[in-house]
Amino acid sequence: MDCIATKSDFVIAGKHFQSRLLIGTGKFGSHLQMAQALEASGSQIVTVALRRVEIGSHKKEEDILSFIDSEKYLIVINTSGAMDAEEAIRIAKIAEKAGLPKWIKLEIHPDPRYLLPDPIETLKATERLVKDGFVVLPYINADPVLAKRLEEVGSAAVMPLGSPIGSMRGLETRSQLEIIIEQASVPVIIDAGIGKPSHAALAMEMGADGVLINTAIAIAEDPLQMALAFKNAVVAGRIAYEYGSGQVSKFAMATSPIESFLWK
């Protein structure tokens, strides 16, 4: 299966991507395994936590960034660890200073257990970073009003969660996600909680513009094969969405209708 089968490109902030699958880089058993999974996934956008990166003269040979080809992948720094807008902005500025792309996946979660995003601080930080010329992709709870507010202050996409990060519980926020997708004028990327390729396919069938996967691939028995499975699921879901998924019915619908000969 090839991404070309889909009708339209995935466009964020004017940049075109063929793949609608974004990959997070935490939790892999090795950097090499991560690099192989990225390759298999066909992804073109990769998120990396700045807290894991060594920058400047401190850079080590085994640093995570040396395993990600910046020619091939757009590296989007995430602000994991930030508890408020100020901290997230500081991380973005450090990434910019280090010469990394001015694309930021904004994650502000004051609670280190469930990592649920702080809506107020996220809105504040988005506003500031957009003014400073960053392409901002904010991670949010599945809150349709917040999604619109973020759009109004210039976020390039919104990244609502399906369920808490790393939980792999799937699209527990489905009805809210449907509203977000219906109302959005920027791409909607379902970010967290997707545990199986079928969850990803469902998100795409619902009309999400993309999905971000990390844990489900990183902790799989074979991350490479799982990356491939997600790649195909995302494409399948997207094609189904573009060409119209079948309608749900309470009744049986015969695949060989009888009307044709009864009323002949």
Binding site: K27, G29, H31, K60, R90, D111, S167, I219
Partner: protein, 379 residues
Amino acid sequence: MTFPSLRKLPFYSQANDRLLSKFWKLLLPKTDDELQELALEAKRITQLYFGKTLRLYAPLYLSNECINSCSYCGFSRDNSILRLTLTPTEVLQEATYLWNEGFRSVLLVAGEHPKFVSLSYLEECVTKIRPLFPSIAIEVAPLETAEYQRMVEAGVEGVVVYQETYNPELYSLYHRFGPKKNFFWRLESVERAYAAGARRLGIGALFGLAPWKEEALCLAAHCSYLLKKCWRAYLTISLPRLRPAVGGFTPPYPLGDRDLFHFMCAFRVCFPQVGIVLSTREEPAFRERLIPFGITSMSAGSRTEPGGYTLAGIHALHRGFKGKAMALCEEEKKGAKATEQFEISDRRDAKEIATVLKKMGYEPVWKDWESCLNKFKSQ
């Protein structure tokens, strides 16, 4: 819950009762098959929440001077041992060694001695090594909130205070003399650290001092309470077992390998997102066996004496006993170094540990914090 010591803890009523009951049930004796079932669940949860990664850190001992008399501790003032307090420049020398070994997370450890380990001394040490380490934690005597705040403003991100034992009667038996006698002051220190802005809180008990199930339950209750009260902090626990040390203390309630494993798996199942720290107190093979079932962070290549990595400060070495400092004679000085707090069981260096982890399918994580997230004053 049946243990009277649990009911004496001030946070008892605020701990999650249902969770503690579940934990207690999981601690009931298990057949090998039942234990295996629990272990597999612990492994699944650990991998789900923490992935196939393991954070590495190193302890850096600043001083082994101490005014407390604790019957199990090598640094006790009642032990006639070789003592030393590193100057901030010598601390930097030790820190540079650890940085070159690959560490980006360090734990500063010191005995309790207001004269040698003052607040301004600690501030100076932290400030000195801050450019090297994005993550600096301290394991020192309990401080006031305002004092913790000064440490946070100096660049400290994590605060570790082990209660040693949660049983107040036994606590008072082991802590014979000195400010450490104050059980509740110690118990509440991580909450003060949190109020002062610490981001990472480490708690634990020293296993061997009290019956382990009672201790485990109290530790779980403390965790449950802190998760509610200090909800913005990342919480870690440690399960250190008493090791041989100067003073020849014999643990009255030893915790066996199987019980420690059982306890750790039960804890992981009840507290999926709490970090579990494993030190070099344990034997190499046992450390490796524990890792997949709950461990999230471990020390490597550790030394538990000041100057242990580079022999920094060795010129100031002296014998200390009951608050008196005695100069060493020339004969004593030969090859002498400060006395360690306890014997290390896993003597492999950081690179060896990293290689072992990789072979086990784990990515060693050296850096997991960014200094711009710290609240030091210059910002």
